[in-house]
Point group: C2
Chain length 193, copies 2
Amino acid sequence: MRLLAFGDSFVVGVGDPDHLGWVGRALAGRREITLYNLGVRGETSADIAARWRAEATPRLTDREPVRIAFSFGCNDCVAEGGAPRVAPSRSLLNARTLLTEAAAMAPVLLVGPPPVAETDVALRSEELNEHLKALAARLQVPFIDVFRPLAADGLWTREAAAFDGSHPGAEGYRRMAELVAAHPAWRAFTDAA
Amino acid sequence: MRLLAFGDSFVVGVGDPDHLGWVGRALAGRREITLYNLGVRGETSADIAARWRAEATPRLTDREPVRIAFSFGCNDCVAEGGAPRVAPSRSLLNARTLLTEAAAMAPVLLVGPPPVAETDVALRSEELNEHLKALAARLQVPFIDVFRPLAADGLWTREAAAFDGSHPGAEGYRRMAELVAAHPAWRAFTDAA
């Protein structure tokens, strides 16, 4: 199986000394899965929408099952010039387009954004997380919510505060990977049978 | 620092149960480095030449140092219809173009192909490895030769034989990562100072 993971710095695992991020950790031991980690720092839903298809093309194959995962949202909520980089309605439109187009190619899955420390970004992220969850349900795309469990746990945000304010270390990513890997939607998604 | 690694299945770490490959392992503990692993299964030097620039663009930044590593060759040497998928002269032309264009953007480094078990592919790969080394020297691009050390050691090819014939497991990738990480060229390449 080939798993393409598109998203932001949390997908690519910025700050993880092990260079695994949550995606690599969630696939530990699954050597039959080729992981294409296509997270890019700072990207919003609009940035991902602009590139994901071009980057998916050389990685798609008809020789084995393909899965496409997405995770984004935090960068949409970051303020730039007094307004979020991407307005919530636009984030949802981008998400709808992405998920619909990708679902025509392969099974897709959406992982919601992790929590961030900055209060206004955190509030907007939490709201966007809920909207993404509802959208995914309408599109019948499996959704994994990590926002509240990671926020409640506190480890993620503590590690992020100790590093660069946004990105955790090995333990934070491990915690997120545990949430993802234990979710029935992830198990179904990564099961080739 | 951001390190972009372009190449084939060995770069992306196919068969590695830890989803690190040699690149991830060679950067272990370097949490200040964002790794963009852009290896793609089955790709030749021509395939990489066709996509690397488009995939580099969203990952480049002027906010911190950038490095671009390449590693390819084995797929060029695989026979298709009685001839190698890419003729040696064409492989070298592709490599020259790639390295020259990338070097105009950021410091570059070339890692030679690892050994493969199939005899005719192995012979051609070994020859291509020598040609790539000579080309890199002419272009003043640092080159790391892993072919002979991995072939002599035997672990890489034993693990590959036990898996799918081409790709090793955690120990093979660890061995390659050790060769790369211990090389003065890699240390200089990944040193931001």
